[in-house]
Symmetry: D2
Subunit: 437 residues, 4 copies
Amino acid sequence: MRLLVSCRILPWRRDFSSTARRRVIRDISELPDRVRPSYVQRPTNTLLSLQWPSPPRNILITKKKRTPGITNSLIEYSTHLSTTYPSINVIVEPESADEIHERVSFPVYTYQRPEHGNASPEHLSDKTDLVCTLGGDGTILRASSLFSHATSVPPILSFAMGTIGFLGEWKFKEYKRAFREVYMSGASDAYAKLEDPEVDHRSFPPASPDDPLDKPLSYADIRGKTMGANRTARILLRNRLKVGVFGPDGSRMNSLPESGDTYALNEVIIHRGSSPHLKIIDVFVGGRFLTEAVADGVIISSPTGSTAYSLSSGGSIVHPLVPSLLLTPICPRSLSFRPLVLPAETPITLRLGEKNRGREVEVSIDGKRISEKIGVGMEVRVLGENVKSEDGEWCGGVPSIVRGVNGLEDKEDDHWVGGLNALLKFNYPFGDQDSGH
Amino acid sequence: MRLLVSCRILPWRRDFSSTARRRVIRDISELPDRVRPSYVQRPTNTLLSLQWPSPPRNILITKKKRTPGITNSLIEYSTHLSTTYPSINVIVEPESADEIHERVSFPVYTYQRPEHGNASPEHLSDKTDLVCTLGGDGTILRASSLFSHATSVPPILSFAMGTIGFLGEWKFKEYKRAFREVYMSGASDAYAKLEDPEVDHRSFPPASPDDPLDKPLSYADIRGKTMGANRTARILLRNRLKVGVFGPDGSRMNSLPESGDTYALNEVIIHRGSSPHLKIIDVFVGGRFLTEAVADGVIISSPTGSTAYSLSSGGSIVHPLVPSLLLTPICPRSLSFRPLVLPAETPITLRLGEKNRGREVEVSIDGKRISEKIGVGMEVRVLGENVKSEDGEWCGGVPSIVRGVNGLEDKEDDHWVGGLNALLKFNYPFGDQDSGH
Amino acid sequence: MRLLVSCRILPWRRDFSSTARRRVIRDISELPDRVRPSYVQRPTNTLLSLQWPSPPRNILITKKKRTPGITNSLIEYSTHLSTTYPSINVIVEPESADEIHERVSFPVYTYQRPEHGNASPEHLSDKTDLVCTLGGDGTILRASSLFSHATSVPPILSFAMGTIGFLGEWKFKEYKRAFREVYMSGASDAYAKLEDPEVDHRSFPPASPDDPLDKPLSYADIRGKTMGANRTARILLRNRLKVGVFGPDGSRMNSLPESGDTYALNEVIIHRGSSPHLKIIDVFVGGRFLTEAVADGVIISSPTGSTAYSLSSGGSIVHPLVPSLLLTPICPRSLSFRPLVLPAETPITLRLGEKNRGREVEVSIDGKRISEKIGVGMEVRVLGENVKSEDGEWCGGVPSIVRGVNGLEDKEDDHWVGGLNALLKFNYPFGDQDSGH
Amino acid sequence: MRLLVSCRILPWRRDFSSTARRRVIRDISELPDRVRPSYVQRPTNTLLSLQWPSPPRNILITKKKRTPGITNSLIEYSTHLSTTYPSINVIVEPESADEIHERVSFPVYTYQRPEHGNASPEHLSDKTDLVCTLGGDGTILRASSLFSHATSVPPILSFAMGTIGFLGEWKFKEYKRAFREVYMSGASDAYAKLEDPEVDHRSFPPASPDDPLDKPLSYADIRGKTMGANRTARILLRNRLKVGVFGPDGSRMNSLPESGDTYALNEVIIHRGSSPHLKIIDVFVGGRFLTEAVADGVIISSPTGSTAYSLSSGGSIVHPLVPSLLLTPICPRSLSFRPLVLPAETPITLRLGEKNRGREVEVSIDGKRISEKIGVGMEVRVLGENVKSEDGEWCGGVPSIVRGVNGLEDKEDDHWVGGLNALLKFNYPFGDQDSGH
Ligand SMILES: NC(=O)C1=CN([C@@H]2O[C@H](COP(=O)(O)OP(=O)(O)OC[C@H]3O[C@@H](n4cnc5c(N)ncnc54)[C@H](O)[C@@H]3O)[C@@H](O)[C@H]2O)C=CC1
Ligand SMILES: NC(=O)C1=CN([C@@H]2O[C@H](COP(=O)(O)OP(=O)(O)OC[C@H]3O[C@@H](n4cnc5c(N)ncnc54)[C@H](O)[C@@H]3O)[C@@H](O)[C@H]2O)C=CC1
Ligand SMILES: NC(=O)C1=CN([C@@H]2O[C@H](COP(=O)(O)OP(=O)(O)OC[C@H]3O[C@@H](n4cnc5c(N)ncnc54)[C@H](O)[C@@H]3O)[C@@H](O)[C@H]2O)C=CC1
Ligand SMILES: NC(=O)C1=CN([C@@H]2O[C@H](COP(=O)(O)OP(=O)(O)OC[C@H]3O[C@@H](n4cnc5c(N)ncnc54)[C@H](O)[C@@H]3O)[C@@H](O)[C@H]2O)C=CC1
């Protein structure tokens, strides 16, 4: 439906004037390969430190849908990045590319929307250094779903537009400082004097034969003031769920066979959906039958998702760093189906047995419904993602950049405790303190 | 689709031989008018006593759907009634009439299935003296929904087929004794010697000019042994909800405009249904704004329904004789939305405001989905049914015949307490008492 | 300990100067008998209207304990009453009498503190027309406990000092208007021009031979502007629990044998108290065994108490006008002990059986511990109070004066809905609306 | 009170006949030092394998209190050990030593009961190779509390007497097989032909100058059939809580200053205890203020304790292998205090602030009350125990021997899933399956 105006496909665009040349949509396949950061744990801190080997260049920016004014924010933000950090390439989603490419003075990169609803966009996970989201929790979930078949997700920096969500961290007005901290994070040699007016801010890197896009940028190239090696962005590595949905015949239903499992950030659910009747779901834990759930549905949630649907269904709040999976029933027809918290490495299977009347059920991952007809005989198989490799390296998960800078913890709030109190109104006290009664 | 083989419509059937003549399907409009019992409260008992002015004659029998063997039970049961109580007329649902009329030696009465899905069958509430259900709670709910526009529902006698439900009371094998108790309930003059072999059991009342159908039967006509005036069937009068569903333009959506409100036995719910997103529902209580529910949905339940969906959603168990309405959220996105129990006479309104993204929501009454497209702007208005008239008479509600005979309470279980323990496994003790561990 | 300085006991005080004469503590037995109001239900309103046959005269004022400044408020309030309504007699608790009698220019009445901890003060319920409380919910509970052996409790008007409680209604600064509304409530003949400076406010009624104390005051005696017959104070008649605590030998433990049952406004609880071990409590409902609770304890609560301890233990919120009793377990060792809501007229018994290890348990009524040694074999028997007599009159209960005036409902909030939202933070929405995040 | 009849103290006992000599109570200080097993993790299994370097010799057996018949079981069990495994030394608690030493033909070892209530018995943790408990969960908790100041607890083998608890695993009648499996666990060289009648079962090892007690036993010394190196006992390493209770002046209140923190297997609680009023407890997480709990109390629980008090208070069920701490309020006066699951390494502090009325509160560890007067200003500080050392070795925790043998998993139940279903009646289905309705 949407036409991808790729430079490769439409090379004549290159002949245009320099102004016009910038108003193009390019394909992400043209971008240099991704810069992979490492995550370092300091003994005194449970959060990780982000360490770029060289400055990030390819920045994906996603925005909330159907929100007035948000396109302007996208333009403002991407223009800031492109102007302040000339080596940066801006990637946006296809619709955003259509919307903004004529209104900005730099090329925007995008990707082909995959044909199969649950497939991941090609090249995206090989080219994206950093993801920035403008919106709420839903926008973060959608951004994370763009990497739902990738084992390595780029760090995500989230800006709230309007109300702050539980997963988001920064207010949009903080974007300059927040981005700079992330951009410089862990650089130990030299630093850009980024806001120095004398610096020659090249609006676009030269397209010379030895294109700088092909060799990594070095922090030494960036002139400017030192920020101190210890001031690193703080990463909360959120472990995800590996989800496979299988039909009665054993075939995969949530993705193309070659893409394998889908990763979920919050949860996967089976639910009665549009049927007004109870569903009967067999639950297996660690390969053994645990119980038959007669309920509206069942949630398998990550600790991150413990404050999402699972919370509404009566689950406990689990800190994102507890390596665990939550099994939370939705409206069970039983007085004794208490939510369970299981080790992250426990395989869980939900099977929709023969007893079910209704033909179709809802299966959703992170609030996105899996579209195929799913019914009796289906299985959802889940395993927690391992975020520490054999040799002790941190890998996998969704690296979420949280407020505060490592090295300055004492002056900062704990983001999670803050979220409980300010957003979830955890243990909100009784009384008339804020009523005009 | 189904052809109602009514005697009036197809009079030639009348000319058949007496055997054949019985194998007909007749229309309920031919039946004598309903016999309305009264319900008497004894000081020592919270349950009511059923008191027939004259023996019931028109018995509606409904059965569970899609259950093997149940048609045979229907035939067995209706044959017993027809043989033992010759003055009784058997009414069944249209499908059942098709299934059994050729296999029984008495005429079966039925009604036209209404064209509009939520309308009530014509004449049914004017002709039915007593309802018998063969099935589980779902069958009772379906039977009660046949009277969902009637202010006066006939008493319901329920037989469990297989597992006992929470609303049902008798095992099918008890049907002879159970029916007799109900049939004779409150007769104070004389009684039938019902199982006396000498009695001439007329298999069908004579179709004479002065058809006995037109004048009420008297207990004096029934020869037989006295059962004692105090042995009356025990009635639990379950108060219902009066539900109106209105579109954004104020038009009724749950029924034909002329049929007015629909009565629910368990509950009415608004639910996100097939949309994977939260719904935002404004709740008004007593005409005043109470709260904005952000949730999967909201339940308004009768005390009877407190052990149904509301229970699964975390509601308290409310005894059916507490005159109340329950407001129970389904998976609310709030830590502080505790279920509420409100006075039965409180009007409650649920309104689906503009903020909702999804176009369509599920509205279900007693587990039956209201089919019309229902969306933003819609309102569900609920009021508890009043089961005591101004002058202190018991009226309305669903008169459910519960185990035990008034006058013999001491030897009987409390049916509700029994149900909590045996069926809901209320406060089921920990330990290995029944495990083979 | 405290010496009651009663006028009868110490008649020499009468000989003092008129100033001194007022600084006395008198015994309530000297007061004229109580004026009993009636409670009228209007069809359009669930709250009752307070109707005095003649203006109230004997006003009991109780105050919160251990609260700085509250004695000054008591003096301010009682002085206002005494000055503005000369026929009013001020009753206070013995400690308050000691504290204030030298600081006010009118006599204060009080009573003998009963010797037995759980007995009621003599005469109090025969002499008190109206109770005013200065404090929070605890003060209202304590005031109500002064009438815990009386079947007819005077209306209670509550002023919050500091934070508003759930049972309290007015802020202290509203006391003039609030009291006047109550004082005049239902007077249909004539009204006092109460704040008219010309009126001769007799500071004390003359102690003539035909003491006006002996004949009821009439609204006609009170000169002033009409307030309109429809402007009546609104009464929420809170039904209480009738509680009997019995030892293993069947003897009463919560009161003197002659005082009979104790009435509770919130609840009665059995609890493990200081023992660190589970208690095992047999629960009987309607005379039949319901269940064995293995738990920290069990609460039997009135609907009023549903927002107190029962709420903290997971009970539903029940509107005070739902005639019911709540059975809520405290930390039960069972996954399936859901709170129950039972008809108000159901007798409930809790029995502490032989299986219990600990010798002693806590039994508390409205947060006040019953002091005697209570242990194995003990029984707590509870029944809801009936607030409507055979002939349809409202009686019993705790008549709580709630905000708003009958006849002006539309302009007023619903006090209960308001309390849910403003005080209990019912369904408090997520998000950062009031955070400075 | 009790006199420890130690061999060292009363040497004349040594002069007695050999029969008499055995009827002595000896002090554990005489025993050879403890044999410390290692715990090996197999990739395919989440449970650990018990591996003795040499056969265990010093076996502590504890039994339930106040239970008729249990002393006989203790005698039966200890006699079996002593007869079948001649090198084994039986250690019992002081009271048991008094009870049984005259009834058995081998010496029993015991220890001095410490004077200070919360101190640990001297030498016990240096001498005990294995703990066996005869009783229920309470007996296991008491056994574990004997090691509440030790960083290394011996493996615990638990036999249920009567009903099976959630922490216990074997029925008493299985003791022979169960003990042999534990005894031989991980022996890779040679095995005893344990039940071979030809074997000379020395009823007691000779007390020669070169006492065999002083050199470790080798599996090679035990003649008999090989059991296979893979058949090892399965260990669930339950991580504990490190608890410090501090007075307002910063002094330790739960133990002697030199013993440091106390380890809890289930939980530590602060509770209102005998006071009928709410407590106000400040909760700090990771050094930062989290919330003010207004409640009956607060529980900090290990995952093992998640099925104990925390469950009764509404907490989720957490698998013992999820490295976490639970913060569960007891009857909080808030609608929004949902239980929390935090990373095991998070320090939590509970502080009893100035606002509290009552002077004294209950602080209990594993159901045992800390006796000192504890009140305003007190702090409870908790940290999860780390069960994996820097170099990846398993250490600490309570090594609980669970059913099944490693290497034979497929034929065995999952003990935890089994416990949920059989003991906690997790998700117990509705219906009349086991009622005689
Ligand atoms: N009854 C419920 O609570 C339901 C919850 N959801 C949740 O919504 C998510 C999808 O989000 P949207 O597409 O925005 O749908 P949506 O428009 O239905 O909003 C979901 C809400 O959940 C919040 N949320 C999402 N993830 C969260 C997290 N990890 N912690 C705390 N709050 C979180 C969002 O801020 C938003 O308020 C799903 O992953 C599911 O967890 C979806 C359906 C029903
Ligand atoms: N998650 C849940 O708990 C859900 C419950 N329902 C309930 O199902 C009812 C419709 O019943 P069916 O058509 O048979 O649907 P269904 O096949 O989904 O079964 C509903 C179950 O609820 C039981 N039930 C119905 N009314 C009851 C009552 N008053 N007390 C105790 N148990 C009761 C039935 O025995 C059956 O086990 C609805 O009125 C609603 O209350 C419907 C959807 C979901
Ligand atoms: N964990 C808990 O929730 C506990 C609650 N209580 C409650 O406290 C009451 C005694 O009150 P105090 O002597 O002031 O003790 P308190 O100092 O322990 O305070 C009890 C709290 O409950 C509130 N409260 C009392 N009655 C209420 C009602 N009907 N609805 C809503 N809130 C109410 C009060 O405003 C106060 O905040 C008892 O009747 C019992 O209901 C007592 C002990 C523990
Ligand atoms: N309301 C409640 O649930 C209370 C629970 N307790 C629990 O009791 C424990 C002390 O036990 P006892 O001295 O025997 O006291 P107890 O005689 O009060 O019995 C406690 C009960 O909890 C069970 N239990 C203990 N630990 C368990 C675990 N980890 N998982 C599942 N069930 C468990 C026992 O089998 C027993 O049924 C405490 O650690 C505390 O967890 C103590 C007081 C109240």
